[in-house]
């Protein structure tokens, strides 16, 4: 297969998948920014039925309903925050991919940083502990050095 043909085939596959992944085409917006906002919103909410897809990617009827409702709420002039609240009131925080920074969620948000800090602290502790042990090992007194030289000399092979 020639390189050019492969390239065209790849491009074709790519275009096909984008069409399939697209939202129902009946959502019309006057301005492209609104369309972008719509897709950004759909992207950040999780479908309650098929749990590991967002509202863009889900074929479940409930996802279609929610898409339609978000469209409606946008046209009513609701803010992103209000739309988020609307969904959370009905389906719970589960629909949010990004957990809110409040209540027990702080544990989720802070755990990585705390683990990192804890790990760094532990490493620092180990290093600090090792240093005082290492110093006397190299610093030999003059008597010890003389004895060491003698021992080393004895070890040397004759001739």
């Amino acid at each position: 297969m020639s390189a050019a043909l492969t390239r065209w085939l790849l491009l074709g596959t790519l275009l096909l998948t984008t069409t399939l992944g697209a939202v129902e085409p009946d959502y019309q917006f006057d301005q492209p920014e609104q369309s972008q906002r719509f897709h950004r919103l759909l992207d950040q909410f999780r479908c309650p039925k098929c749990q590991n897809t967002n509202l863009v990617g889900s074929d479940a009827p409930i996802a279609a309903d929610l898409r339609q409702h978000i469209y409606q709420l946008m046209n009513e002039g609701r803010s992103d925050r209000e739309i988020e609240e609307y969904l959370v009131e009905r389906y719970g925080e589960f629909v949010l991919y990004k957990p809110r920074a409040q209540g027990s969620n702080w544990l989720l948000w802070l755990a990585p940083a705390m683990l990192l800090l804890g790990g760094l602290g532990y490493v620092a502790l180990l290093i600090a502990r090792r240093r005082p042990q290492a110093t006397p090992a190299t610093g030999l007194s003059s008597d010890e050095r003389a004895r060491l030289d003698q021992l080393l000399k004895r070890q040397e092979p004759p001739g």
């Binding site: 749990q51 309903d65 929610l66 009905r90 389906y91 589960f94």
Partner: protein, 177 residues
């Protein structure tokens, strides 16, 4: 190093193992409902039998009752139906929410299988279902006499659910002032 420190990795592993083991027996499709403890959402809907007979949320309050979301396209609803008939016969008021369905099909269903509902709201657009946070029929809500949602069941009500969850909950709510 003291000897007990050698057991730290084992303890960590056991703690992790306990969480994972628990996770094995949890159903990830059951979402906690944010509506527990909140009043029934407001609605104005006709019933299946009478499109003009408009009902409001206040028509459902006054006694401990079950609100059951069902549809003829919902296969598990058929499995649940005999239990709803039994529960209704035991004197628990059940209100239906016929969710995104066709009126004719729903009426035929009730004629053939029996009607356990005091009435069924005809929620053709699914608007009430959305306000109730429905994501898969059948879903059932237990409301207290003030119309506050106190318990939610996603999925079929069967003998086990009735015995272990629903009946005790109903008795508890009935004992409340």
């Amino acid at each position: 190093m003291t000897r007990w420190k050698l057991f730290i990795p084992l303890l960590l592993f056991l703690a992790l193992g306990a969480f994972l083991l628990r996770g094995l027996f949890m159903d990830p499709t059951l979402l906690p409902s944010p509506l527990i403890g909140k009043p029934l959402p407001a609605f104005t809907l006709g019933t299946l039998a009478d499109p003009a007979g408009v009902k409001r949320q206040s028509d459902l309050t006054g006694e401990v009752a079950l609100v059951n979301v069902w549809a003829t396209w919902c296969i598990s609803c058929r499995a649940e139906h005999p239990w709803l008939m039994k529960i209704a016969a035991m004197g628990v008021p059940i209100y239906g929410v016929n969710y995104k369905d066709q009126r004719e099909a729903a009426l035929t269903w009730l004629k053939q299988l029996g009607d356990p509902y005091r009435f069924s709201l005809f929620d053709e657009s699914g608007r009430l279902g959305l306000d109730l946070g429905v994501y898969g029929a059948p879903e059932s809500y237990l409301i207290d006499r003030h119309g506050v949602i106190r318990y939610k069941r996603v999925g079929v009500i069967d003998e086990r659910i009735w015995r272990d969850e629903l009946e005790p909950a109903i008795n508890r709510l009935r004992a409340e002032p």
